[in-house]
Amino acid sequence: MNAVAQLQRQFVDYFNSLYREGVVDDQFAELQKLQDESTPDFVAEVVTLFFEDCEKLINNMAKALDQQVVDYKQVDSHVHQLKGSSSSVGAMRVKNLCIAFRTHCEAQNRDGCVRCLQQVNNEYLFLKNKLQTLFRLQQQILAAGGSIPTIA
């Protein structure tokens, strides 16, 4: 097997593993579909935007939870945003954590919120790592002259 094919295989396997582990869901695959010749970096752009958004939201939430009097409404809206973003991108685990986070917010459980936030942060970093690996694989394939295989 030549290098390109190998890389492609690697890419597909990696992707499938992400999928299997529940890191990403169908939505991520859908995003892949939207990438074509006219928008070659679509997925990368979206994901980058997502990470920026994530970071910003997490920081805001941390600050809000640090306050003496926690404005749960504020926190809740941030979580809602994060949930929306993650579900758009297909970051399943993050999304699920957000759902849990929201219940804590509604319960006005500061500890629960803080814990959730921590988890979200961890998950976000984990996802970032994984996706960066994926993108690197993509670049390698492209550099080798191959094309990104479409994930059915």
């Binding site: 169908d26 939505q27 995003l31 939207l34 928008t39 979206v46 997502f50 809740d76 929306g84 758009s88």
Partner: protein
């Protein structure tokens, strides 16, 4: 005292004479004194008297005279000097005054005389004015009479009444002895006595019209005095009176409807007149006065007008009656025609069924019979029976179709069909026969011919089949080529038929089919007969081919119904012929096609794979999901404008945006409010973009809320490409989509 020189009165001798003188003087004095008194008295009584000064003078003169005479009374006896002196004074004064008066009178008397003159003059004037007043009064009375007469005459529209009334009123006004009206007879050469005043039933007197007197009367519109001996004036038996009254005749124009011009009163163009004769009472010394003649003339005119009105009324009544009759007749005819048509249709319908059933039985059973064991003769017989019955069946069908086509009750069944498939089917039907005859059939469909079209497929096929069938029938060998293409410009016209001028439009196209065969051909003089019912060309080659001759006639009818044209071209016998027809078909289209520029025409069944250029708006405050949604829509080919807030959305949204996708996951009611605002902004439905909500939950509340604010659809996130595609398809087709999970 000295004695005066007067004669001493000797009482006894001249006493009498003296006494008389004495008394006369006394009376003279008395008179002299009383005259001024009277004068003064009467002048005072009278209102005006211009000569007071004269009067005074006169008075003075008279008084002094009286005084003189009075004083002379004293002179009869011895009198003193005083008396003498007084007497002298009086006389001197009297003399002075009387001279003055005499001088004055010279001036005054001419004046007095001229007063008299003026008085005479004024009297004359007064007499003249009286005369004129009398004249005016007469005229006014005449006018009144005319008005009254006119009113009477015009108050009725009945000819007879008009004329009778005229005579009566004239007779009354002018106090006539007799008044008669002579009307021209139908022949126009005689005048007949129609109406008289006194006699109740005028005898049918006639007088020839070309009498000099009558001509004279007819030549002018004045009332003319005629001699009582004139035939028209001999109305009453001579009653032996001394002198017959004066007779006057005037013409009465009899106007017809077509004599009325707008601007000019009918003049001598009217040819027929009636004659009105008026007779004054016999033994009165009356004469016709000018004003009376004028009255008569005016009345004659008025009568003419009234008669014409009556004539018009009669005419219009008659016309109306005529029309009513015609209406009734037409109505009856229409009903009869309808009944006839209904009867014919019923007959056809019954016969249709009645004829087809036995035919069907014959054909079916003959076919079955063919399948059984038969001797060759029997087989031949059965085949002949089948052929004949098939022919008969075709004939029946054709006749029934044609009769329906004839009265225009046939309507095309318009629907979408596959053009290519139609031709293929025809080919399949004709191939067996063609191969038996070893004819080569080629079908050539132009590439730009639409695959689908809207028209009457059955009848189009029937036409093509008939034409191709004819080609096969009349060709013994060779090939037949069928060509079909979209006709434009030159190919849209038949050079032989200049009045077939179709106009192309965006929704229709003209299909041109040419069937060329290499068969027997047709001679040019036979070509026009081809499309006539039941005719067949007489050439021996064709006589055996059978057929009713109806086929082309029916084809022509069908082609005409499809707003087309069919004709045959042939170069002559033995040179084959080409049958060409053009029919109008429509492009298939969807209902809101005009609104959706991105749907290519004619590709209805392929589904919509992309929406090139569809302008949409995406509102989402979440950057990531906004980007994802945008990417999704861009992938489908839309022109996406992303906005991040509802204010921005309202600012940017315009008529060009066909759909607005808005995220309503936000806890605030922003999305719903936005929908309301969009509705407010675009009041007309076709201007408003469709509003679709993207939401994470499709519970009933969300859906209801969306519907309440007037959204056109709800989509559950996350959205896949396929889902978005089908959503857009549905949305744009139906303009509403309620729920896409």
């Amino acid at each position: 005292m000295e004695s005066c020189n007067c004669i001493e009165p000797q009482w006894p001798a001249d006493e009498l004479l003296m006494k008389y003188q004495y008394i006369s003087d006394f009376f003279i004095a008395l008179a002299y004194f009383s005259i001024p008194l009277e004068l003064i008295y009467f002048v005072k009584k009278s209102a005006v008297f211009p000569y007071r000064w004269v009067l005074v003078q006169f008075g003075a003169f008279i008084v002094l005279c009286g005084a003189t005479h009075l004083i002379s009374l004293w002179t009869f006896s011895v009198h003193s000097k005083t008396v003498e002196a007084v007497m002298t004074t009086a006389k001197v004064l009297t003399a002075a005054v009387s001279c003055a008066t005499a001088l004055m009178l010279v001036h005054i008397i001419p004046d007095l005389l001229s007063v008299k003159n003026r008085e005479r003059f004024l009297k004359n004037k007064a007499a003249e004015l009286d005369r004129e007043m009398g004249l005016i009064r007469t005229q006014e009375e005449t006018g009144r009479h005319v008005r009254m007469l006119t009113h009477e005459i015009r108050s009725t529209l009945d000819r007879h009444t008009i004329l009778k009334t005229t005579l009566v009123e004239l007779g009354r006004t002018l106090a006539l002895e007799e008044c008669a009206l002579w009307m021209p007879t139908r022949t126009g050469i005689e005048l007949q006595l129609s109406y008289t005043l006194r006699q109740q039933n005028p005898v049918g007197y006639t007088v020839p019209i070309h009498h000099p007197v009558i001509n004279q009367v007819f030549s002018g519109n004045r009332a003319v005095k005629i001699s009582p001996n004139c035939p028209v004036a001999r109305l009453r038996p001579l009653s032996g009176k001394y002198m017959q009254g004066e007779v006057v005749a005037v013409r009465v124009p009899l106007l017809h409807l077509n004599n009325f011009q707008i601007n000019d009163w009918p003049e001598l163009s009217t040819k027929s007149y009636a004659l009105m004769v008026l007779m004054l009472p016999s033994d009165s010394a009356r004469r016709w006065h000018v004003h009376e003649l004028e009255l008569v003339e005016v009345v004659a005119d008025q009568v003419a007008v009234a008669l014409s009105h009556a004539a018009i009324l009669e005419e219009s009544m008659r016309a109306r009656d005529l029309l009513m009759e015609q209406n009734v007749a037409l109505d009856l005819a229409r009903r009869e025609a309808e009944t006839a048509i209904r009867a014919r249709n019923d007959f056809l319908a019954v016969m249709n069924h009645e004829m087809r059933t036995p035919m069907h039985a014959i054909i079916a059973l003959s076919s079955l019979l063919q399948e059984t064991e038969l001797t060759p003769e029997q087989r031949l017989m059965v085949e002949t029976i089948l052929k004949s019955s098939n022919l008969l069946a075709t004939l029946i069908n054709d006749v029934l179709d044609l009769s329906r086509l004839e009265d225009g009750s046939l309507q095309l069944d318009i629907e979408t069909f596959n053009v290519h498939a139609t031709f293929t089917e025809v080919l399949n039907l004709i191939k067996p026969i063609a191969s038996v005859k070893k004819l080569l059939i080629t079908l050539n469909l132009a590439p730009e011919l639409p695959e689908f079209a809207v028209g009457d497929e059955k009848r189009l096929m029937q036409t093509i089949l008939n034409v191709v069938g004819n080609a096969v029938k009349f060709s013994k060998e060779g090939s037949i080529s069928i060509t079909a293409f979209v006709a434009k410009g030159e190919t849209l016209r038949d050079p032989q038929a200049p009045d077939f001028f179709p106009v192309s439009s965006n929704n229709h196209f003209y299909l041109r089919v040419q069937v060329k065969d290499s068969g027997a051909g047709i001679s040019p003089q036979d070509i026009p007969k081809l499309f006539t019912k039941f005719t067949q060309t007489q050439s021996t080659a064709t006589r055996n081919s059978g057929g009713s001759g109806l086929g082309l006639a029916i084809c022509k009818r069908f082609v005409n119904l499809m707003e087309g044209h069919i004709w045959i071209e042939s170069e002559g016998l033995g040179k084959g012929c080409t049958a060409i027809f053009i029919v109008k078909l429509a492009f298939p289209e969807r209902s809101n096609e005009s609104r959706l520029p991105f749907i290519p025409k004619g590709h209805v069944n392929q589904g919509l794979t992309s929406f090139p250029g569809l302008k949409v708006l995406v509102m989402d405050d979440n950057g990531v999901s906004r980007m994802v949604t945008k990417g999704l829509l861009v992938h489908l080919g839309c022109d996406v404008t992303p906005v991040s807030s509802s204010d921005e959305c309202l600012h940017v949204v315009s008529q060009d945006h066909k759909v607005v996708f808005m995220d309503v996951c936000v806890p605030s009611m922003d999305g719903y409010e936005l929908a309301v605002r969009i509705h407010e902004k675009f009041t007309k439905r076709h201007e408003r973009p469709l509003i679709v909500a993207l939401t994470g939950n499709t519970d009933k509340l969300t859906k209801e809320a969306c519907m309440r604010v007037g959204m056109d659809g709800v989509i559950l996130k996350p959205v896949s490409v396929d889902k978005m595609r089908s959503v857009l398809t549905d949305l744009l087709e139906h303009r509403v989509l309620f729920e896409a999970i």
